[in-house]
Symmetry: C2
Subunit: 328 residues, 2 copies
């Protein structure tokens, strides 16, 4: 704990440096003064432990060195890892991170946006499910995972290529009757391209395949009914499944195992996301991994170097296949 | 996106409300004016979409409505869940959350503290591993999980009672030769009390028990050697294990299974933390669950209502036993 209760003032710095208060003010506000004066002020400020009031500076320079990150929550590993990486990368660049969570609620998202705009942040990175969001045009704004508005840059992983890669891997591993299983949100997003890429690979390469997509969070009952109807005489109709997320994949596998369908012997499974297995190296299943570190870095780069004419409207970053124990 | 580029000013509000600029300023700064004037100003501000500049207000009132939360990372579910709950609870109270992550590095922790102090936050909640941390005395500061300084309030779960509860449950479930396995940090913390509570229950109730504690993150090799030495003729020497964390528990169980020791048939296992199983309801193992929601709420309550004389120096919140499939 610090021993001093009273903080040094600009006046204290001026006295210690032997210069006028005006000179100290100029130095702290980045207004040019002679190098000799600047050095004296910097040395005195350091000696006294003077801390520039960043709020006052933010007010004058209209720059707060603060970026707001808005995500549904930081409990799901996808969001928490993304938030963690944004926090680290912003910190490396001298920025603070204001975190706001929305629980997927469109109204809460708007409140978060209003709140951080009041706080005069230098930019906003958001994963949002509210297509009606009202954001001031003069605040740099980057969306992750969901094309939001033609004026707002979006960073996502290459979901389409990920779907193609999943199909290719299943075929490479000997599967000949493929299934896509996915639960979709009613708000269209980049993730919808996973099944399109998967279907495209199968069509191009003449692979027998079925797409089974259901809607919203309660869709697992529909998935279970579909699995039930696909089991005849104890045998599952498909030998390879691409599931839209790792979380859904492990739920699907759990349900298949309850029906004595073995993985990967009877059916091979590939998920999407690349969620690391808690407590171990590796993944919950063979998976298409999203490059969260590169997504965070790219979103921040676009945000901090924003030039309206050269900023891309969508950046898709390459995914990779990671082997788990759910494929042969 | 908003259609207007130009933001309304206080002057615009004054014109729209038909009052003087001084009256508008008073209302925005909480200085009493007649109810009729206040209503006019509020209505005009709402109509024009005027947003009070919170930075300017923070500067005047020395209040920023911002709380810094400093944690090692938001990837481990313990830290990410805690951060998520702090974020929600602060938001309910009208506070913003500045998030900083430290990767367990004492120097980074000090830099984070310095950074947020510059930002004039209203308070700091931290999980810190740096006992030398230099924090200004005039900033409200609450530590989670680790008693830091007699002047700094600490909120943790009741780790001692958790150790007792784990021993009690194992005995209740028929175990008679108990083992504690734990990896400890070199920075003493509340978590060290888990094995003390466990040992205390066993001693009081005359239960045969062994405490095996190793140091630091690389200690799993030591744990493996201990397990190897405890297996004679394919039989494990203990019938009940309390492991200091859920993460270590699942690693221990994985290692035991590789030696054909069945859980819970041959040995029952209870972990600590209550980490929810990814993708499912329930837990990775039977576990002593930390009340993260109550810990976040209590830390925030202490921080925002801080009165030096009445604030407790340590608040331990009750844990609970949650059944998994690793006990009978």
């Amino acid at each position: 704990m610090s021993k001093t209760n009273k903080l040094p003032t600009m006046k204290d710095v001026a006295v210690a440096a032997g210069v006028s208060l005006g000179t100290v003010s100029k130095v702290f506000n980045g207004i040019p003064v002679g190098a000799e004066y600047k050095n004296k002020v910097d040395a005195a400020a350091k000696m006294l432990g003077y801390q520039v009031n960043e709020y006052a500076r933010g007010l004058r320079a209209s720059k707060t060195n603060t970026i707001a990150v808005i995500v549904p929550n930081v409990i799901h590993p996808f969001y928490s890892t993304l938030a963690d990486m944004c926090c680290n990368k912003l910190s490396e660049k001298g920025y603070r991170m204001l975190l706001a969570t929305t629980s997927f609620d469109p109204q809460t998202e708007q409140q978060c946006i209003d709140m951080v705009q009041q706080n005069k942040v230098d930019g906003i990175i958001a994963i949002t499910y509210n297509p009606e969001l009202d954001v001031k045009e003069d605040i740099p704004f980057v969306i992750i995972d969901r094309k939001f508005h033609h004026r707002v840059p979006c960073v996502s992983s290459d979901n389409y290529a990920g779907g193609q890669l999943a199909a290719e891997k299943l075929v490479e591993k000997g599967c000949s009757n493929l299934l896509f299983l996915g639960i979709s949100s009613h708000v269209p997003g980049e993730a919808d391209k996973r099944n399109l890429g998967f279907a495209s690979y199968c069509q191009t390469n003449n692979i027998k395949h079925t797409i089974h997509r259901v809607w919203d969070e309660d869709g697992f009952d529909d998935i279970k009914a579909f699995i039930d109807s696909s089991i005849k005489n104890g045998k599952f109709a498909y030998d390879g499944i691409f599931v839209s997320t790792d979380m859904l994949a492990i739920q699907v596998m759990d349900y298949l195992k309850k029906h004595d369908i073995s993985i990967p012997e009877d059916v091979q499974v590939i998920g999407f996301d690349g969620i690391p297995k808690f407590g171990f190296d590796g993944y919950y299943c063979s998976t298409i991994k999203q490059p969260l570190d590169k997504m965070a870095a790219t979103a921040i780069d676009i945000l901090l170097n924003q030039e309206i004419n050269s900023t891309p409207s969508l950046v898709c970053l390459p995914v990779e296949y990671c082997e788990g124990d759910t494929t042969k």
